[in-house]
């Protein structure tokens, strides 16, 4: 394990890749080894800024990452990308095609691009994504981009993985604005309105100003930095400097106000809770007789012998009582 750790810290590509495989693995012995590795790596943290990207499918997340990634590697930053690919099909296999939209950055010496099938896990991110970011951080990457699958409700989990949470939207209708409202602005640090090009250019500018006014209306806690809106064209490479400036601004301000550290601590709490919750659920589902108990209680609810709350209370008490 020390050998693997040293090779990661030395930035060896194959070692980083093997380590990510380890933290993604579902094999019992791998899970134990990955815990060991991560607790070692955490002792030698790097300085990476983790940026999350979410947004509806087809909005151009990968294309933006290709364009913005090219921009920042030209400034001699090292870039790690963790792309969670949504395309799992009914047999469990998947086609990981995100990288085909990142052909320029994937060739570059200073990048590490890893795709992972989402396997339908909640939150639009995959098992091991948090740990993969720790590995890339230890390996000395300056930026770590995490691209989520971008289906609804993924924002909270994804936002809890990163220092900057970016929502990418397209030149859209007011309907989408209804969706953002207050909730999302609490998680998003920045909105990127993509496709500011060709036929869609003017629509994109309109969308951006709609977002701006919506955000000022639903502005979050006054201490916080206001969510920013940047207009870009990934295919023409427009607006990339503005995005980088916005990111720098967010990091600088949050570091000054200690928000940066506070957020990381809160995230740790979030993940600890998640871990405990998942473990309990796993234990519960492994409990003998629990499934048949649930089945029989459902029957009893249907036939009117018991109520929903009484049944759930009964199941939990029976389980917890045994502990």
């Amino acid at each position: 394990m020390t050998d693997l750790k040293n090779r990661i810290i030395a930035g060896e590509r194959a070692a980083i890749a093997k380590a990510i495989t380890l933290v993604e693995s579902s094999r019992e012995e791998d899970i134990d080894r990955s815990h060991l590795l991560i607790s070692e790596l955490i002792k030698s943290p790097g300085h990476a800024v983790r940026v999350g990207f979410s947004g509806p499918p087809g909005v151009g997340k990968s294309t933006f990452i290709e364009s913005f990634g090219s921009f920042i590697i030209k400034k001699n930053f090292k870039l790690g990308v963790l792309a969670i690919d949504p395309s799992s099909n009914f047999t469990g296999g998947s086609i990981l095609g995100d990288k085909t939209r990142m052909s320029e950055i994937s060739k570059n010496e200073n990048t590490f691009i890893r795709s992972t099938p989402s396997r339908g896990s909640l939150g639009g991110i995959a098992t091991g994504t948090r740990e993969a970011a720790i590995i890339l951080d230890a390996a000395g990457y300056d930026y770590i981009f995490i691209e989520t699958v971008g289906v609804g409700q993924s924002e909270i989990t994804a936002a809890n993985l990163v220092d900057i949470f970016t929502l990418i939207v397209g030149p859209g209708s007011g309907d989408e604005l209804q969706g953002i409202k207050k909730g999302i602005t609490e998680y998003a640090d920045i909105f990127i309105v993509n496709k500011h090009d060709g036929d869609l250019a003017s629509q994109a500018s309109r969308t951006a100003s709609d977002y701006k006014s919506a955000i000022s209306f639903y502005n979050k806690d006054s201490d916080d930095l206001e969510t920013q809106v940047v207009l870009v064209s990934s295919i023409e490479g427009k607006g990339m400097n503005e995005v980088l400036n916005a990111y720098n601004n967010i990091i600088e301000t949050n570091k000054k106000t200690n928000q940066f550290e506070i957020r990381r601590e809160q995230q740790l709490a979030y993940w600890l809770e998640e871990e405990v919750r998942n473990k309990i659920l796993l234990e519960l589902s492994n409990e003998k007789g629990i499934n048949s108990l649930i089945k029989s209680e459902i029957q009893r609810i249907i036939s009117g012998d018991t109520g929903f709350y009484t049944a759930s209370k009964g199941i939990i008490e029976q389980f917890l009582g045994k502990k």
Binding site: R13, I16, K18, S106, K107
Partner: protein, 717 residues
Amino acid sequence: MTKNKNKSLNNWKDKFTKEVKVDSVEDFFYSTDEEINIKPLYTEADLLDYKFNDISSLPGEWPYTRGPKASMYTNRPWTVRQYAGFSTAEESNKFYKKNLEAGQMGLSVAFDLPTHRGYDSDDELVVGDVGKAGVAIDTVEDMKVLFNEIPLDKMSVSMTMNGAVLPILAAFIVAGEEQGFDKKVLSGTIQNDILKEFMVRNTYIYPPEPSMKIVGDIIEYTAKEMPKFNSISISGYHMQEAGANNVQELAFTLADGMEYVRAALSKGLAVDDFAPRLSFFFAIGTDFFMEIAKLRAARTLWAKIMKDFGAENEKSLTLRTHCQTSGVSLTQKDPYNNIVRTSYEALSAVLGGTQSLHTNSFDEAIALPTEFSSRIARNTQLILQNETGITNTVDPLAGSYFVEKLTEDMCAAAWKIIKEVEELGGMTKAVAAGIPKLKIEESATQKQAKVDSGKRVVVGVNKFKNPNEPKIDVLVIDNEKVREDQIRKMNLVKSNRDSKLLEACLDNITNSAKNNEGNLLALTIEAIRARGTVGEVSKALENAFGRHYATNVGVSGVYGKFFEKDDKFMDIQKKINLFEKEKGRRPRVLIVKMGQDGHDRGAKIVATSFADLGFDIDMGPLFQTSKDVAKDAIENDVHAIGVSTLAAGHKTLVPALMQSLKELDKDNKIIVFVGGVIPEQDYQFLYDNNVSAIFGPGTSILDSAEEVIKLISEKNN
């Protein structure tokens, strides 16, 4: 229809259902790939209520279903036009002259992939591709050698060029000029069909919009300066090769044509100024009658389309087409069967009324054609022309209940798709949205699944296999030598030119492209005359337009659907699930194309069907170097890499990949397998370079998946 006829038809139905023991004739309807129902019998009743096909029309008469000309082959048979080119211009020139002596009537030049993609032979991106799948052209000097001692005022020359269309057409014009032929007398065709490149063939350079501008500039220039030259060959061929069904091929091709008409109109040209010089190119596959109907339907619909554009000149209304027999129908197994397949396809093309024809050589599923296989391919047409009597009558199948009805059905089905495309805002928009590409990939996967599941018989492949596979000779290109020759010749040209003059010419191109002023072909001719290379001109354009990178997402679930409850399919799934249980993740395979070869039908089908079986598949972008592929493979920690190669670059690219993998991880356990067009003579070479498996054309996906999961499991134990 009279009562009597109705009665006898009912009698026939009774007899039929009794003979074959079914309840209704409809049980015997056959649904084609195009989802057209083929009935066991067609009668006079099937000639009624046509919207498109006018069965009373005559050849050379509206709507030209029966042919663009009144006399057709009775006056002059179709042109035997064999597509060829390889190695250096010197070698190709020798080959052309020999073929012309042996009865070929027109030339058709195949360029190598670096030329297609606008790279000079010395570019490090193209190391494995120079001179492989066509002839390498870097400068006008190469072009002059290519046509040495060929009378360009008499010989029509077809050039398959789309991406680097400006420098190649310019080099052709300057070569003619310097050999004493004014551009006004040059006849032939430039393919110049960029939309289908974005859909299927992938030898584009620039993004769709500037690419369409180039097409427009070429149509404009040739309309004014080259009256005998076809400015475009609107091609469905590559769509069928990529797996499109016949209706898709027909509809998307005509819709492309409409887009080119609009591009030319936007240049301020009048429709009859350029429309007579639009030509077409279709594939002819093994579905005999469908192919005939397709050509008849194509002429019918094009006449209607052009009339709607306001064309009045008869030549604008008539669709003239080149055809080529299907490459994808050729098999590596029992390859002499391909001679027979090609013969039937050629017959189909001729009965459909093609203006010129290329017949494939039987060994093209394995390698580049040899002199022997080329002769048989050419003679297939010469026998049709000289021995069968087929040229004595115009459109001999007209009036056949079946053929007329099928023509009408094809028209109706294609028209529906054309209308859908038009509603999307035309083909440029549809292509940008990736819609035709996905439809074609879906069709391709279905076709493959039909063969793999035995629902479609391919003789010698999934039935009637030959226990004694014959060994055949193949043409071998010494890629290294060609590359060195090209670089030497190019450097000679470079050392003898006025670099200041050239620089000015190249700047003019970039500026014109940036500001959308002037005609790019006219400016390119200047640069080529000043001895600019194909790569330099392409770069000057790229400086203004950028280079296009396609996204590459596949369909899913289409293949698996054909194998519900199939034993072998489920067995492979079981093995994959077992692997996941034991190893903590699914077997992961990177499917790649390397070099400049953009034919990705095979790669796409393997990717989607492997994913349906339960593999995790990484799709690499097109046009990767071995280094790019190795980085991708190592970073994603894949168990295996599948290299798809159709352009003969494997002997250079595969060893380079192995080397790159070692450099990134000297202990890597990655399995490399290769699929595509690989001559058996090269198998040992690849095995010696640690390739674990080779899958030739016609390999069942299930067989290859079974082998791959076995290899991965063994290696990871």
